[in-house]
Amino acid sequence: MSDSLQWQPTAPIDNLRARAELLTQVRAFFSARNVLEVETPVLSQHATTDCHIQSISTSHGFLQTSPEFAMKRLLAAGSGSIFQICKAFRQEESGRWHNPEFTMLEWYRVGFDHHTLMAEVDALLQVVLACQPCEKISYQQLFIERVDFDPLVADKAFLSDYVRQKHLLAGDADDWSFDDLLQVIFNLQIEPHIGQQAPVLVYGYPASQSALARINTEDPRVADRFEAYYKGVELANGFFELSNADEQRQRFESDNHWRRTHDLADMPMDVHLIDALAAGLPDCAGVALGIDRLLMLKLGATHIDQVLSFPFSRA
């Protein structure tokens, strides 16, 4: 027997009690709104192709990085609005805000667009965190206010000059892509400073960072995608969902092409999702929110280990 304390949970038992209360609150919130709770497989034969999200593979398939594809198949099958609280897994390092296994809340609202869904995110955060109503600002306006340039007009040379002037990178800016530069400026110069008083909902991300969101019909430079930030933390990511099967297939294929040119393995795209979109996904908006981070904010925790029973290092 060793005297090691590694067997013990890293979260105080009181924090685990707060986690249970939070889950009860979330379930009550959706139950009152007639949103159906569902479960979908954690283990799948398919995986995300997203260039910046790496799945954990097992001898039987892949652990999900989010329940998005299966939930969209339920929507196409006529489920109506649904929510899920589940574990998601990403091949990532651990950090202050990261554990390779984490709890995700994901929900889809039939008939909503991203603005109506943002209003619901706002309502949920007010209930759970007892915080002030969310502020709303476009990605473009946020850059203009915080770093004094228009991200929809700036080109790569401009961004490279900007990060050089601010001495942000250790390496050469020319080795970074346009989107990586925009994102690093956002993460270092903007994210730590926004949403200090009330959560902020940022919408209208550049179309090049659309992921699974629709392209805006009025301004094709932006996607109908939003993110929630509070106290400098990325809390949620939502879309007015792409429902075009051909476009979805093209995005999967171009992701896999990017993967091949960046020493990453091709991922088996979820053909069932493509078929479901072809059969018809109702107009809907969906959002994923990190439950561990939400609990951290509620408790004022400074490290994710404080809200997890056993982080990966002890799992």
């Binding site: 060793s2 005297d3 090691s4 304390l5 013990q8 949970p9 105080p12 038992i13 997203d50 910046h52 999200i53 990532e92 390092e93 651990s94 950090g95 202050r96 990261h98 001495h167 942000l168 990178l169 250790a170 390496g171 080795d175 970074w176 989107d179 990586d180 994102q183 690093v184 993460n187 270092l188 960072q209 992921a211 993110e227 990325e234 990511n237 994923a288």
Partner: protein, 174 residues
Amino acid sequence: MLDGEPCNILENEYVKPGKGQAFNRVKIRKLISGKVLEKTFRSGESVEGADVLDTELAYLYTDGEFYHFMNNETFEQIAADEKAVGENVKWLVENDVCTITLWNGTPISVTPPNFVELEITETDPGLKGDTAGTGGKPATLSTGAVVRVPLFVQTGEVIKVDTRSGEYASRAQK
């Protein structure tokens, strides 16, 4: 190496947006000028390694200004200054073999063994049978280091500490 100076990493924060490139926000100390700065590395990005030499030397004593170490095979001695030892001074135990990093023959950093054994000089007496508390209690060690220990550990006992995390590992084997 950064701007021609060997550096060591003080803090390394992992940043990964939900949809986007992962990177590391790294706090670096330049070992010659002592300047501390923050830089961003893309995950997997590489930098030129500093042409430094690691040697295994036993800690002897301090004269107040320098910390003296000795090569146990050649008996050659070397003195490291306070800047090179830094915060690791609290983990220096006589005769423990430390890793001394030399750059152009000068010690620029001192890394203690991963585990050191130190005596507890002061800690609150824990109540017997009180195993419910998971937080433990603070204990001051003979070098002045303060670590959290389980309640059953008492003043005068020798404990094993992980110098990388500064955390209690176990009681020392008797």
